[in-house]
Amino acid sequence: MGTFRDVQNFVHDARSVTTLGNLHELLQATVQSFGFQYYALGHHASVAQDNLLQIGNYPDAWMHTLYQREYIFDDPVLRACQNTAVGFRWSEVDKLIELSAKQKEILACASRAGMGEGFTVPVHIPGECTGSCSFAYRVGKPLNEAVLPAAHCIGGFGFEAARRLARQTDGRKRTLGIVEFLTSRQLDCVVLVARGKSDWEAAQILGLSQDTVHQHVETAKRKYGVATRTQLVIRALFDNQLGFEDVIAR
């Protein structure tokens, strides 16, 4: 398992799939042939917007928790992705970032949902919001190091296959998570929103009127095509216009 022939077959098959559904089937079969049980591929900000890339087979219970509790801001794997461009093991996340109690709790939660050791390949494409491809074992199964180089290839080529399919749908800009650059004033306001400040508090801090702050935030939301401030913060975070340290203070 995890041979070069496996990678060649995957790359060949991924070129000819015509739907995300078919790509999902191919990815699932491939990663499971490598010994993994679960995989997830997509843009990190897909929690905020339905039309961003997100395919996978993580346990429902885990997906539910992730969406429900806004773990997106505290997920240590997503955080670690901001710090590296190379694949890493979940058991080594503490070498990439300093784990807070909240982040340790998330790892424990994933474990309770049945997910064990994992491997994540970050995807950083200039001009697009960050994404990744992750593979995970069932709890208790040890990592097979020999498959990691092949897994890295599957992650990279798999993500590109998903992008290719997304390009073919309407609203390419939206489905690919193209970065919408905020002006520095808009960003000032979004940072304060991320920290939980009201428009009034933000206005005080920035020396602007409350109405102006409101306008900046609404313009930023329109740029991204999102409905809520939380979604706006998520997009700005994974576009690297906002840092995790800005949202940790929530």
Partner: protein
Amino acid sequence: MVHIVTKANRKQFALELYGMHRDRKRIFVDWLKWKIPVTDGTHEIDQFDSQNAVYLIESDGKGRHLASIRLLRTTRPHLLLDVFPALCDGPVPIGPDIWELTRFCVAPEMIKSDGTRLMNLMWTSVVEYAVLNGITQYTCVTHMAFLSQILSAGWDTKPLGLPQMVDGGLIGAVLFKISPATLEEARSRYGYRTSVFDSQSEAA
């Protein structure tokens, strides 16, 4: 305007080449920490930066290097054949219509403000150069950290072997197939209606 720099016109582009080697050092040695040779503590130059190398260099028109990439014939010494043949599962692809791409570099100070545009411009120039010169395939040795970025160009790409750890980094080799359709697609995607090369550059 992208310049095609060969042994025939190198002297004309001395400033741009100087800037390129200096920026290569800042990116590959200082930032990425690759263990490659540095001259005078300021320039990154290796054995393949010979008279045989072709460089595609984007400058500001006043001698300043903004982005570049190095092209080598596979019928002569090159990285994949001479340094990393183990990255290929089978024989190293060699042929008069197969060239190697290496040292893709954007000037550090340009990355944040103009990085994406420069990257897209260099991808387009590489494809145009191929079509102008009858090149049908490019091989490329890359750190796996850049795989997604490279694949995002959308070319017909396949891996040549499993990636391997080299000096603490995961390195892999890929092969790109280029055709006139690839050029059309690149031009359409990045908005270039005509050649990206300056009118004085000769096809090698």
